[in-house]
Amino acid sequence: MNIIEKFFPNVVPLWNGDGGVVEAINQTIYMTVWTTIVAGIIGLFVGILLLLTDEHGLLENRPFYSVLDKLVNIFRSIPFIILLAALNNFTRLIVHTGIGPTAALVPLVVGTAPFYARQVQNALLTVDAGVIEAAQAMGVSPLGIVFRVYLREGLSELIRVSVLTIISIIGLTAMAGVIGGGGLGNLAINTGYLRYENDVIWVSLIFILIMVFIVQFIGDFFARKTHH
């Protein structure tokens, strides 16, 4: 205990309770998990739409693609810290609160879903066009091709981009403190940085890194398992 107290004098009293390390970890996990689920579903859906409606796609539709494509680009180019502020009213409308981790979910999803959609589109584009043609020649419907060919053949690549996206979500949650979202990023800045408590910054950093490594490790494991 002495060593820990010696190297992390400010962390020890801060460990439990309001604004503590444990709470911050929970908030980061909460925001990451929910954003992953919601943005994952939306991004996957939009990504598949992009894939199908693009030139040479199974349901090629240039006007539709062009609108969707530009929307994705616009949302991807907004800096997240501004998105947090800009979506304030929209957030209240959706989750009935403007502050806290739950309020942060809305901008997190809006910021992540387009990014993930583009990743999904690119991941599925790696599926051999010949295999898609073969499935078409066998009389498989476009929906069947999405589920039985694209998502299956592109699974390994899909896992890879999902890991990338989750790590990017963990990064974004660090900014959620701006709207009272809490989390490890908030702990590092508002407690560690502003109070000159460097040990708090380091502890926040270590926990963020641990989360990233766990996600990377699990992702790599499944990516390898699904790759033939």
Partner: protein, 352 residues
Amino acid sequence: MSEEVVIFDDVDVVFKEKKKKAVHAVNHVSLSVNRGDIYGIVGYSGAGKSTLVRLINLLQRPTSGSVTVLGDDMMKLSAKELRQKRRKIGMIFQHFNLMASRTIADNVAFPLRGTMPKDEINKKVSDLLELVGLSERANAFPAELSGGQKQRVGIARALASDPEVLISDEATSALDPKTTSSILELLKSLNEKLGLTIVLITHQMEAVKQICSRVAVMDAGAVIERGSLLEIFAHPQQQLTKDFIDTTMQLDATLKAISKQPAVQSLGPKERLVRLTYVGASTDQPLIATLYREYNVTANILFGDIQSLQNTPFGNLIVVLNGEADDIDKALAYLKAGDVTVTNVKLAAEED
């Protein structure tokens, strides 16, 4: 009269790319394939063969004209009817297009899922794998197989939905000669056993020679020549067709070698260098002997080759005829009457 299973009627395909010149990939092609045919379509890459066969299962839509397959105008089918129809048209590909994430058995089962109970699928898959000689590899993944084995899986998969027509899109072009030959033999046996109609496109005349009953030659989107295998080989009309045939006989290489021989380089006034091509019955006659006995013309054979096309002998001789000009003309007339094609041989060396 035999049933026409695939009919192209004045089919045209034009690709228009933005800011680029339109490409006329298929140029007013009319063609029909009879049930039980192995119909070969040859041409160099870019001739429009792939586009033409993709019209059969409507992977490519024609710009104009109609495509009738197994009695239905393909353009008039609804999306659902088209998918049903496609199940009757199998297709195999140059790069096999197997699903890397599925085992061999799962690849073959792919078109069957949802159409019949699981145990029936398993039974059918093992039958198909046995048919193509790959029963032992059922649980392997495509990456573990050789090219020839992958194509066998492709064939098994294409046969899973009991098609009546099989499209082969350069299916042997990525394989070595020995494997090519065994895949072609497999296709031929399927044609005989199952009565499967096969439309085969290739740039390898050897493949056509080995199994096709009918041939069409394509160039720049148009069919420039067509006929039975024997007609095409015995009496090719177009230069491109002749080139293709010469390549399979390796005649171009032979001619180069011949032209270096002293006997050819210094042809006397009474000598003429000709190529004799004959099919079937004419092969049995003692041609060379007759030339000497009846016309006093001697023939010095520089090159001779007899091959079997659909069990009919097909011969090629390059000879130097020696005799009086009159006699040689008479001899050549006799040969032509006996259904032997005579061509004067131009020496490649003269151009070099």
